[in-house]
Symmetry: C2
Subunit: 167 residues, 2 copies
Amino acid sequence: MAFTIRDASTPVYKRGLRTLLHLLQRADEHAKANNTDVTALLDARLAPDMFDFKKQVQIATDHAKGGAARLAGLEPPKFLDSETTVAELQVRVQAILDYVDGIDAALYDGAEDRDIQLVYPWATYDFKGAKFLTYWSLPNFFFHVTTAYNILRHNGVAIGKADFLGK
Amino acid sequence: MAFTIRDASTPVYKRGLRTLLHLLQRADEHAKANNTDVTALLDARLAPDMFDFKKQVQIATDHAKGGAARLAGLEPPKFLDSETTVAELQVRVQAILDYVDGIDAALYDGAEDRDIQLVYPWATYDFKGAKFLTYWSLPNFFFHVTTAYNILRHNGVAIGKADFLGK
């Protein structure tokens, strides 16, 4: 059974997105158990010039939908990044999980050689699909999922590695 | 050009390991510029029950050598985990970078279906190679590289996303 670029991407995004759903639930439970406002966790960050928890979740999901869509030759769906509550973030993560899950597997044929261009205000990046996945999408995706986890852990939420790895 | 499990693993480990070398250098520069002992950074952690920076580096390298070796059907080289200085950590990371780089590409043929068993004191995990890479090795590897980065960032080292992504 050959290994494909879809094998290296779709299950990784899906599992990481499920981790985000789990982290959101754990943050909510932590706040309820401690009779505090979960907003303090959503707004928490590891350094003054780093993004807060909710933005880490938003960016992680951007890399999941952007990675999956671009490898499949699709335009990624846009979100307004207006989520401010656990419930709203859960809706976003679930929507992107469903989106990634629903992409036709056949669209990934030859994705390793697909030309992918990312245009940002500060730079334009040109990749072939394989390098886009391994040098851009996966490192960025894991960076933001891990940082979301680290923000909760740093703020006393009782989670461990298993809460990151998921099932 | 077909995408292989080696394409999804070797360049990812190598780039992440180069990121660790870069982070070690930035930590060292930060301490020198501030006339402080870099040991404080090496011993820093994000939560009392999380591993410190040097252990994050050690575990990240374990996942790189363990991932590459097991996919190639080799026994991972062992290290004593006795590094306590920037220089010693740099030697370890470079040694593992050279090790991963030196594995014969042909050994990865069929690695996606290879049976891989991990035996820990608390559990035994059985994977096929593809799932070992995407559900275990890559998430763990990125987790520890990112956490090493986050520890430095949280402690005032002037690094940004580009220092994580590398080149």
